[in-house]
């Protein structure tokens, strides 16, 4: 498989053992890939390894033809991989405006021109709640607003790939719908998206491809609508990780 982001034979982990035991996956340009799986399956480890927060022990991570394994997290950001972490995704003691300024100043590696607007109007239109809050401390925003700010920061540099770690975690149902709608809009602007989610049904509705992980391996890699139609979707991501999934061969 080829694409804007290709992962092959990826091993990573903390301490002695590997948590990721040979992940193969690909994100085609302009698409949305959603990774689901039970807790402890290695989803978060995977996205942290992609973002450069955890070193890959084996395998390759290739962004648009360039191997990024040896790049630091800031270098990966500057080469076009934006990452929105789960929960702690804004600088809480800084204002909304300062959060956006930092994204613009540091994520672009000096490409952004000085002066001018911190965030362009087109992008801002995706986040209608932000403009009135520029002077507010990011820590005082609601969970949903913080998530929107984190998205806006990650998008200020027009990334090739946007990586989202459980964007709907801890949000009210109203915001959850907003978040997925925003993800879809961002994708419509040409940004490829690699997302980890617990709310599988909602996430898969907007996705092209679904990857199911268990025990640090890919158990299923299939079109999202196909996975949505499966009767035993719940057992795929909430099910016992030790259980051998009957669908393992479907990829």
């Amino acid at each position: 498989m080829t694409g804007i982001l290709t992962i092959s034979g990826l091993h990573a982990g903390y301490g002695a053992g590997d948590i990721l035991k040979g992940i193969d996956a690909a994100l085609a340009e302009g698409q949305i890939v959603t990774v689901i799986g039970p807790n402890g399956s290695g989803k978060s480890t995977l996205i942290k390894t992609l973002a450069g927060l955890l070193p890959a022990r084996q395998g390759d991570i290739v962004l648009a033809g360039t191997r990024v394994n040896d790049m630091s997290a800031p270098q990966r950001v500057r080469s076009g991989m934006s990452y929105v972490p789960q929960e702690y995704n804004v600088f809480r003691n800084l204002t909304v405006l300062e959060n956006l300024q930092i994204a613009r100043e540091f994520m672009s590696g000096g490409r952004a021109s000085r002066g001018g607007k911190v965030i362009d109007d087109e992008l801002l239109a995706l986040f209608p709640e932000l403009p009135g809050k520029f002077r507010a401390l990011a820590g005082n925003l609601s969970g949903g607003q913080r998530q929107m700010l984190a998205f806006a920061c990650a998008l200020t540099v027009q990334p090739k790939v946007l990586m989202l770690d459980e964007p709907s975690a801890g949000l009210s149902p109203k915001y959850m719908a907003d978040i997925f709608a925003t993800v879809k809009q961002v994708n419509a602007r040409g940004v490829s998206i690699f997302m980890i989610e617990q709310n599988a049904t909602e996430a898969l509705r907007i996705s092209n491809t679904c990857i199911v992980m268990a025990n640090g391996r890919v158990r299923l890699n299939a079109p999202a609508d196909q996975v949505l139609g499966m009767q035993d979707l719940h057992s795929l991501y909430l099910g016992d990780a030790r259980e051998e999934l009957p669908l393992a061969a479907a990829s």
Partner: protein
């Protein structure tokens, strides 16, 4: 009363610069640096060398020494703290205690225990209403205020200052926002070095130059930074003024010898009732 309050204000404002240095270093590096006292001492002696031995004007000597000392601390960090960075804050704190002994004794080895002073002319104190103030005190207030304003501009208006606050706030997020932490760490030491050099000169002007001059302020400096909330620059400023005033005003009701106990009491009370300090954020362990 008014005179005592004014003296307390001056004591407090001297403490603002090292308190700010501690709080910046703590924010970015996450350990309490107990070497700040000795760092001020060493920097003050560097200024002494340029000012008294080479005969440079005090202002020029201070500016040159502050820049040099900022660079010196980057080297010190590279040799002392950087190899221990992954070992946790207790190890770094103990290393800073050791570093403090070494730095203070470098000053002692070079200049002995004799008290010395900068080459500045003596000027007659003047009166403003009922308050007697001398020229050194005016310089201390003026320089500290300017340094604080400069720090405010740096931290809120300049990319490097914002990045320092971002790293202090959330180091992992800072990485994925493109901030190279080694570069920010170097800047933080450089800026802390400049603050400590200026702080050392002000202490030397207020009292005299002697090897324990910096470390004698250590408790007050930490009390100020903790009271304000470690990691909060605004807190360091307010905390320093409160500590200075409270210690000085306490002499109206308790014997002056016990004044040194006041910052310790403040630390104890803060840790019991509001461990995050006045402006600090509650510490969240992820």
């Amino acid at each position: 009363m008014l005179q005592t309050a004014f003296n307390g204000f001056v004591t407090g404002i001297i403490v603002t610069l090292p308190a700010l240095a501690i709080t910046l270093l703590f924010g970015v590096l996450k350990f309490p640096n107990f070497a700040v006292g000795a760092m001020m001492t060493l920097a003050a002696y560097m200024v002494f060398a340029l000012n008294v031995q080479l005969g440079w004007p005090l202002v020029v000597a201070t500016v040159v020494a502050a820049i040099a000392f900022g660079g010196f601390l980057i080297v010190v960090d590279y040799l002392t703290f950087r190899p221990l960075r992954e070992r946790g804050s207790i190890t770094l704190m103990v290393a800073s205690l050791g570093l403090g002994f070494v730095l203070e004794n470098i000053a002692r080895l070079a200049y002995g225990n004799t008290a010395r002073s900068f080459a500045i002319e003596l000027a007659r104190p003047f009166r403003f209403f009922d308050i007697r103030m001398n020229r050194e005190q005016m310089i201390i207030i003026g320089v500290s205020t300017l340094a604080m304003l400069a720090m405010y501009v740096l931290l809120t208006r300049m990319p490097i200052g914002r990045a320092m606050r971002a790293v202090a706030d959330n180091p992992a997020l800072a990485l994925v926002r493109g901030i190279e932490s080694p570069r920010i760490i170097r800047w933080t030491w450089f800026i802390a070095g400049m603050l400590l050099a200026v702080g050392g000169v002000l202490i030397g002007m207020d009292r005299a130059l002697e090897p324990p001059m910096g470390s004698s302020y250590l408790i007050a400096v930490f009390a100020a930074a903790i009271l304000g909330g470690l990691g909060s620059p605004l807190g360091a400023f307010v905390g320093a003024l409160v500590i200075g005033m409270v210690s000085e005003l306490s002499t109206l009701v308790i014997p002056p010898n016990y004044r040194i106990g006041i910052p310790l009491c403040v630390i104890a009370l803060i840790l019991i009732f509001r461990p995050q300090g006045l402006f600090g954020q509650p510490y969240i362990r992820k």
